[in-house]
């Protein structure tokens, strides 16, 4: 479904993504675990077309999308939920969820229920600064669900949110998979990757290990340490 091949990105002479390979399979949740600065968000940005790589390719449904724009990728069925979602004055949650689809009101309401937001309270609220961080992230997840993408990249949907929001976020992610979307779940939470079928560990812009969630969580816990960002993995034993 989504294949990243030998991707490289250098910023100010520093390798950020360093020959990275990754495959996300259809309707599966693929976890991506990594320490701060490992290159997780940079990878998400490259896949979505926010930035472009120096080398390598991004293949989506057998088509090379490496140089496609954000809109082009989105129209093909690729989307991204940001770690810190943007806020919009004057745009209601109802409108935000219907941005590019003629969804019925009941569909919009269902997506809000999925992430634990009662529609009666939230439909007409604006996607602005008055939403809490947890509410905003849940709205973001609902908007991704409403888009029914083929692949959704979720950049740390579980970070910086309250304990009440977390189960709703996790419910939204599993629903996404149930409705047929593949998910690249970027996180540094071992708990969050528990919903994934496969997990890869990223360090210094490279995938250094992949496997089942439990095994990878154990490996991450035992081996990973703060990366020194020199383009070379610095986990224990290397």
């Amino acid at each position: 479904m989504l294949e990243v091949k030998c991707l490289k990105l250098t910023l100010n002479g520093k390798p950020i993504i360093n020959g990275l390979n990754l495959e996300v399979k259809e309707a599966k949740i693929h976890g991506l675990l990594g320490m701060n600065g490992a290159g997780k968000t940079s990878l998400a940005n490259l896949i979505m077309g926010i930035s472009y790589p120096d080398e390598g390719s991004i293949i989506f449904e057998e088509r090379d999308v490496t140089r496609c724009t954000i809109s082009e990728r989105a129209k093909m069925g690729l989307t991204l939920a940001w770690q810190e979602p943007a806020r919009f004055e004057g745009l209601s949650i109802r409108e935000y969820l219907r941005l590019n689809k003629n969804l019925s009101l009941s569909e919009v309401e269902n997506y809000l229920w999925t992430v634990g937001l009662p529609p009666g309270e939230y439909l007409d609220r604006a996607v602005d600064a008055n939403l809490s961080g947890g509410e905003r992230k849940r709205v973001e997840l609902a908007s991704v669900l409403a888009m029914k993408p083929k692949v959704a990249i979720l950049d740390e949907p579980d970070s910086g949110i309250d304990v009440v929001s977390l189960p709703h976020i996790m419910n939204g992610i599993t629903e996404m998979s149930k409705q047929g979307s593949a998910v690249l779940l970027i996180t540094h939470s071992e708990e969050a990757v528990g919903v994934a079928e496969e997990v890869s560990i990223i360090c210094a812009g490279k995938i250094i290990n992949s496997g089942p969630p439990k095994e990878m969580c154990r490996w991450f816990k035992n081996n990973c340490q703060t990366c020194n960002h020199i383009g070379k993995p610095s986990y224990k034993g290397v």
Binding site: I70, S71, A74, T79, W82, A86, F88, E89, N100
Partner: protein, 315 residues
């Protein structure tokens, strides 16, 4: 006969501009319709007194909301100049007596203006514990040949509330010189909001001033502008914290999207009491990159994304 025709023409323009025609016919709803210097309709709802005096170039209006009366339906005002040329000077004296409450919706209609001037000079007194909400929406034509000069001095009494929104997003602004100044009493709340979409050669000057003179007075001076083509705008947002625990905020956002646009924001925050606090935020720039990327990641193209953001800001 001529007046009837004038009234019908203005009503037609008012309806096209989104005005509520039913409200103008409902005897329970207060209204005032003025074309150039002619008063075409007045309806005083219970609790409201309206006196008008036609002058050579406009109308003097005295508008009273009686003490303790909460007006059930919004009062509708309509000011317009339909010909291509004309001068309309409105002098407005408003008194909302203690414990009264009213919502006023004003439509200002100048669809054919080539050389039209609309001036409003308002002296407004909001009594103790009274609440006055004023929404003014302008509908201009595409020629830009209009000067709009609304000026108001508003005194808000103890625990009184003043909320106003001035919206000019339909048609060309022309020249706008908006100047509202509020003096807020103890525990009063004052909010000024201006939303303008400037285009072509529009020349926009906005001044929002709030003096927080009473203890625990609250004030917000907010403006939202979108400027394209060669539009120019200067926004002054001034808030003065002059009493203990007064709290004020100035919030200005100007989105610029045109090679000839010139935009400036001048926030003034002033405190003369050590227990007062006044803050400000001002941002001028192109459409926010992250907002654009977010909308594009949902499948909108660049133009559609800008449209969604701009409409939201001006809503």
């Amino acid at each position: 006969m001529l007046v009837v025709k004038e009234y019908e023409s203005l009503l037609e323009a008012y309806g096209k501009a989104g005005g509520n025609l039913d409200a103008l016919e409902n005897r329970e709803v207060g209204n005032l319709v003025i074309h150039k210097n002619k008063v075409l309709s007045v309806n005083e709802a219970d609790g409201i007194k309206v006196k008008t005096e036609e002058t050579k170039s406009g109308v003097n209006i005295y508008f009273l909301v009686e003490e303790g009366v909460k007006i059930k339906y919004p009062v509708h005002l309509c000011f317009g100049v339909l010909p291509q040329e004309g001068l309309q000077e409105i002098t407005l004296k408003v008194e909302a007596q203690d414990n009264s409450e009213v919502n006023v919706i004003a439509h200002c209609i100048f669809p054919n203006a080539v050389d039209v001037t609309h001036k409003m000079d308002a002296d407004i007194k909001i009594g103790d514990n009274a609440r006055f909400s004023y929404r003014e929406t302008h509908y201009h034509g595409e020629f830009g040949g209009i000067k709009v000069i609304p000026k108001a001095k508003i005194r808000v009494g103890k625990k009184g509330v003043w909320e106003s929104t001035f919206t000019l997003i339909e048609g060309c602004v022309g020249m706008l010189d908006y100047d509202f100044e509020i003096f807020g009493g103890e525990k009063s709340t004052s909010e000024l909001l201006v939303k303008v979409f400037g285009k072509k050669e529009d020349d926009i000057r906005i001044t929002e001033k709030i003096h927080l003179d009473g203890k625990e007075a609250r004030g917000l001076a907010k403006s939202r502008l979108v400027l394209i083509d060669n539009a120019k705008a200067v926004v002054r947002g001034e808030t003065y914290g002059n009493a203990p625990f007064a709290r004020g905020h100035v919030d200005c956002l100007e989105i610029v999207n045109g090679d000839g646009v010139i935009a400036s924001a001048i926030p003034v925050v002033y405190v003369s009491d050590r227990q007062a606090k006044v803050t400000h935020e001002a941002a001028i720039g192109s459409v926010d990159k992250k907002q654009m990327q977010t909308l594009m990641a949902r499948g909108l193209n660049e133009e559609e994304a800008v449209d969604v953001i701009v409409k939201g800001i001006l809503r």
